[in-house]
Amino acid sequence: MPNSRLRRRAILALVALPWPALASGLQDAIRDAVGEGDFADTGITLTLPATAENGGQVPLTVQVDSPQTPALRVTAIHIFATRNPTPGVASFRLTPLVARAEVQTRIRLAEHQQVIAIAVMSDGTRRRAVAEARVSTGGCLA
């Protein structure tokens, strides 16, 4: 059965990936930042270049679809690099003086990987965006 063979290959590929150690560090970092719970995968945009020439200076923008009113606003934005030696990039805490739910910075990426942005809303809900970036020269400082 071609289907079962495909599935087996997919499972083997998952097992073969050297991810568990990295993933647990990543999960710990995310848990430390925002605790346990679910994420909505809408209402947040993470923008990265598809290919970064220099992994040491990768421009990144996070925009959250939020009115930034007392009723509903973003209170925090957290950024994680999934395959850096340490996943933490930065955490932004926003007060009502911040007019837009948007931040821009420059990050380090050690290699081709996914970057995760998580926004925490004032009603306690959380949103998550993932973007992938290829890196021509790794930002080995990470």
Binding site: F80, G88, T95, L97, V98, E102, T105, R108
Partner: protein, 106 residues
Amino acid sequence: MSAPLATPRLRVPRSARRGEAFEIRCLMTHPMETGLRPDAPPRDMLNRLLVRVEGEVALDVTLRNGTAANPYHVFFLRLERSGEIEFIWSDEGGRSVRATARVTIA
């Protein structure tokens, strides 16, 4: 670790409209050395950027290993009245540098 922190560079408008968003850009010259590389110099990292408006916290950023050297940030503030915006970068050794900009609300 012993050299003084650099002078931050800010781009802040001199004036803005009441309650409307205006853009802030800031760049701080710093190696952000994690100490993780082979043969790396000792760790030397800024770990915080705090932005206050007339003493009230607007934005509090925790910087970690994945933040690039010469941290650069862009964000948007809004003010109801003219005031001073204060930027403070701090490093893990407890040193800090402060810069201010005044925005007049027309």
